[in-house]
Symmetry: C2
Subunit: 241 residues, 2 copies
């Protein structure tokens, strides 16, 4: 009812500008929900990029909290402070939003965690530092839930599992393998076969991440202490108090 204004027709083509800048996927802050506000506001394209970011951030929260299928785009829109239609100006559909969200969110994960290829001190020190960073940056933050999200939705989104394997898992394991081999060569590690299964080194860290989101309230876990004990295992006894 109502309206039915004067035709308008034409512009049927509706090119539907896809790209929209995007600039760096950085997606760092996870900005608060209702950021619509006044703001002198910069250029149109800048605002557009901001919106896009807000959508991704909101989607991150919603998908984390509910999983892919149970997330409503209405909620994402509300949280991002935009109309639902706006989402479709930036993303082809729900799935595209989800996949790009994961991609975007993984980037900082990689850059933050890149373990030092050739450590300054002992390998153990390097790994301890790495573990510390990981606890700080992943287990404690919302990024940890990203890992859980990938575990959860991976099988249903092969593209995401592929991407995650390629960008995070294989790289991380390769780097870890390098460190292990170095440590073996230096005599820091006495089980050379460990280099074949770098997963072993990372396993407790992963468990810590998962533990945090599932069981923290049942039994809090001192992840850093646990990782130290694990390093004791790997490097034999306690080398430094």
């Amino acid at each position: 009812m109502s309206k039915t204004p004067p035709e308008r027709t034409d512009r049927s083509g509706s090119t539907r500008a896809r790209n929209a800048g995007l600039s760096r996927g950085e997606s760092p802050p996870l900005r608060a929900a209702g950021t619509r506000s006044a703001k002198p506001a910069s250029s149109r394209s800048e605002r557009s990029a901001e919106r896009r970011e807000a959508i991704v951030a909101a989607a991150f929260d919603e998908f984390i909290a509910r999983g892919f299928a149970a997330t409503r785009l209405d909620d994402v829109a509300k949280r991002a402070g935009v109309a639902k239609g706006t989402i479709y100006l930036h993303f082809k559909d729900k799935e595209a939003l989800f996949e790009e969200l994961v991609r975007t969110a993984i980037v900082p994960l990689i850059t933050r965690l890149a373990p030092p290829a050739q450590p300054v001190g002992s390998v153990r020190e390097a790994l301890e530092h790495f573990a510390f960073t990981l606890i700080q940056e992943v287990a404690t933050t919302r990024r940890g839930d990203l890992v859980r999200l990938i575990v959860a939705e991976g099988p249903r989104f092969p593209a995401i599992a592929d991407f995650y394997y390629r960008e995070v898992v294989s790289r991380g394991l390769a780097a870890m393998r390098g460190l292990i081999e170095l440590a073996v060569a230096r005599g820091e590690i006495r089980v050379p076969e460990l280099a074949n299964y770098p997963q072993i080194v990372v396993a407790p860290a992963m468990i810590a991440v998962i533990w945090k989101s599932l069981f923290e309230r049942h039994a809090p876990l001192d992840a850093m202490a646990m990782l130290r004990v694990h390093l004791d295992l790997i490097f034999g006894e306690r080398s430094a108090s």
Copy 2:
């Protein structure tokens, strides 16, 4: 807002014959659709129990494959060879089906994996046997996906996370701690702090389970070999070839 979604239903009374045999979790049946047919058919209650089992088995497959939200009860019914209404004769709603399904499926997980409280041989042998069983019974089978399912849906179903923690995690860790303390007392393990973090011992096994469902096709993992190396780490060097 408003929505008022699942509501949580407290599952008050509803005795709902818990057990229902279940026998082997094997979940082999997967009966063909139109199996209604003749069959001398046993007593009514027996048939009812059969139906219930078929529903649980079908639900298991569907929930594993799609997750809670994306699973359609129509599909579960079709797979179980019953009408949708029948599901509601056995379960209050989708959520109740899901929760009981997990409960039901976890039982064999516990019984199969209960590690020997006091091993006959060395603790290392006991753990190696345990690891072997775990690979055989979990990582390889559909039960592994159950673990993934719990990781995935746990945060949204606190009842399930609670149950899983209580019945599997805390018990398993306690048993593991006992073994570790024994090994420490016997001198098999030289890092006594390990008893504080039994998670470390299980972590690679968990990783193996997750790896199988996410990355097996990218990079197959010889779980047993990995666990052996990990045991080498724990027990120091390779004690037995």
